[in-house]
Amino acid sequence: MLSFALKRLGVAILVALTVSVITFSMIYLSGDPAMALAGEAATAEDIANIREFYGYNRPILIQYLDWLFRALQGDFGQSHYLKTDVASVIFERLPTTMLLGACAISFALILSIPLGVIAAIRPNSLIDRFALTIAVVGQAMPSFWFALTLMLWFGINWRLLPITGTASWLNFIMPSIALGYYVTPGVMRLTRAGMLEVLASDYIRTARAKGLRPLRVLFKHALRNAILPVVSLAAVQFGFMLGGSIVIETIFAINGLGFLAWESIQRADLPMMQAIVLVLSIFYILLTFLADMINAFLDPRIRVT
């Protein structure tokens, strides 16, 4: 188990390094950063000064290493637009996005896993059809439209929930549902397919032949084996929610990382975007690592490979 964890950790670090290289090279993707910063009216001397000031005149490898070591110490430089420390802005916004993501993924899992299990126990029953309908509708419905519909009914027509902001936990209900609902179909179908396969397996028959109660067969013997791919999917989707909540955060005016990313793109604030991409990528990598660890805990066969 320990050697498996170390191996996965090594892979995670390599992936993180690769991501950092790509993130760093972002500043050169749209041409010479010094020229972009200087603006159209700048003289050659201004550009040279800016190049000197930001260190763009050094060899690219040195620039990268310098940037990487600063980033490792939590220093992502200055925002070109806000003229403040990038790290402090990000770490101010991060908790909001994390909270939203956690609520959304919890909503998605709490809804989809039981539905998937029930659909697998009674395939082609009424409840299976109902779950399938939810899946198809969820897959087909754009999340921005769903978010606006929620707002219209719960926020405006019935006045049950606040529409915008992050003042209380009530503000998080609609964004969490809007963000989480999109993930529900995939998780549910995967749970259903996994459970169907596992429930038909020989070891479930063995468990029943031992006289075990149906609920014990279901939860101890079946779900643990069926849930493995769901864990991996949930981890990826959680990472996606952290980065992909741009739309939802914008609609509900939530001051999170997604909203910040959207703002920074508009302002061409490169250090900020770099830092956001890097931080979110690191979260992705951490989540994948965590999913691997959970799966290794659940299935002993994974531990040895």
Binding site: Y203, T206, K210, L212, H221, P300, R301
Partner: protein, 337 residues
């Protein structure tokens, strides 16, 4: 005769399939005495496994069981609800399956799975259950049993896994063990060991055994009584000697001719084979089920319902229109299926 552990009369299993009702098992009757081994023999698809699963009430949802009598140690199984039935499964009756490679849950240690089988039915402490598991693992010939409790199925070979399955069956000292082709998936040397083990444990724990197999070699070694099954019916029943020494039904005769006998069967000679395939069991079959493959078939075979009839000895029955004398003649002349 003492009261049997298992008494079955007219057990039938119907399975709903898209094309109609598949009559997988049709009116079979048998009983098993304490410590006795009954072998149910037949080729794939004849209804052997369905018979075993129906006794355990583990049939697929599309299947329906009916029986005039279904008594386990005097208790009527057909009147039990699923909840009461599950109290007996793994307790009074236990089952060993054909596929040791997939019959254990890969996510749990074998100790966990063994102890669970006991804790479900007995009010025992964890350490008592663990001691019982170690005791039985040693009984089934696994060395260093205590250290192996923490091992997972994927760390064990097929033979070892089947031994674990056998130990699991014995956790609650069942009166009856159903073994469905327990050695089919194992290689030949392991087969012999597992069979020997089953016979030994049967004697030691005075357990009755229903052994389901297509392998007549196995039957010859462990059976007290034999039921030959064909297309959902018993076509011949009797003691092992009766069935092996004086097979009456053309199908049994054919099966026995499929086994080469060292020293008797000539090198290079053709081994017997039964031509044709098992008939489709959807809907009602008229006459003898074996008629389409039987070398002695004539018009009388094709209509009506055949009953099991006694052969020369009282406990020996077969299902054929031919008289016992005619059957014995067929056997001698060598014209079997």
């Amino acid at each position: 005769m003492a009261k049997p552990i298992l008494d079955v009369e007219n057990l039938s299993v119907d399975i709903n399939v898209p094309s109609g009702v598949l009559r997988a098992v049709q009116n079979i009757s048998f009983s098993v005495a304490r410590g006795e081994t009954l072998c149910i023999v037949g080729e794939s698809g004849c209804g052997k496994s369905i018979t075993a699963l129906s006794l355990m009430n583990l049939l697929p949802r599309t299947a329906r069981r009916s029986a005039d009598t279904l008594l386990l140690d005097g208790q009527d199984l057909s009147s039990l609800r699923e909840r009461e039935m599950s109290d007996l499964r793994g307790n009074a009756m236990a089952m060993i399956f054909q596929e040791p490679m997939t019959s254990l849950n890969p996510a749990y240690s074998i100790g966990n799975q063994l102890e669970e089988a006991m804790r479900r039915h007995r009010n025992v402490s964890n350490s008592e259950a663990r001691d019982r598991a170690v005791f039985l693992l040693e009984k089934v010939g696994i060395t260093g049993a205590r250290g192996r409790l923490g091992q997972y199925p994927h760390q064990l070979s097929g033979g070892l896994r089947q031994r674990v399955m056998i130990a699991m069956c014995l956790m609650c000292e069942p009166a009856l063990i159903l073994a469905d082709e327990p050695t089919t998936a194992l290689d030949v040397t392991i087969q012999a060991q597992i069979l020997h083990l089953l016979a030994e444990l049967r004697d030691e724990f005075e357990t009755s055994l229903i052994l389901i197999t297509h392998d007549l070699g196995i039957v010859a070694r462990v059976a007290d009584r034999v039921a030959v099954m064909y297309a959902g019916e018993f076509v011949e029943t009797g003691t092992a000697e009766q069935v092996f020494n004086a097979p009456s039904h053309p199908y049994t005769q054919g099966l026995l001719r499929c086994i080469p006998i060292p020293g008797k069967t000539k090198r290079g000679a053709h081994l017997g084979a039964i031509p044709g395939i098992v008939p489709n069991l959807v809907g009602r079959l008229e006459g003898c089920h074996f008629a389409s493959r039987c070398p002695h078939v004539h018009d009388a075979c094709r209509s009506g319902q055949l009953a099991l009839r006694p052969a020369f000895e009282e406990s020996h029955h077969y299902r054929c229109v031919l008289s016992p004398e005619a059957c014995a003649e067929n056997l001698k002349s060598g014209v079997a299926a």
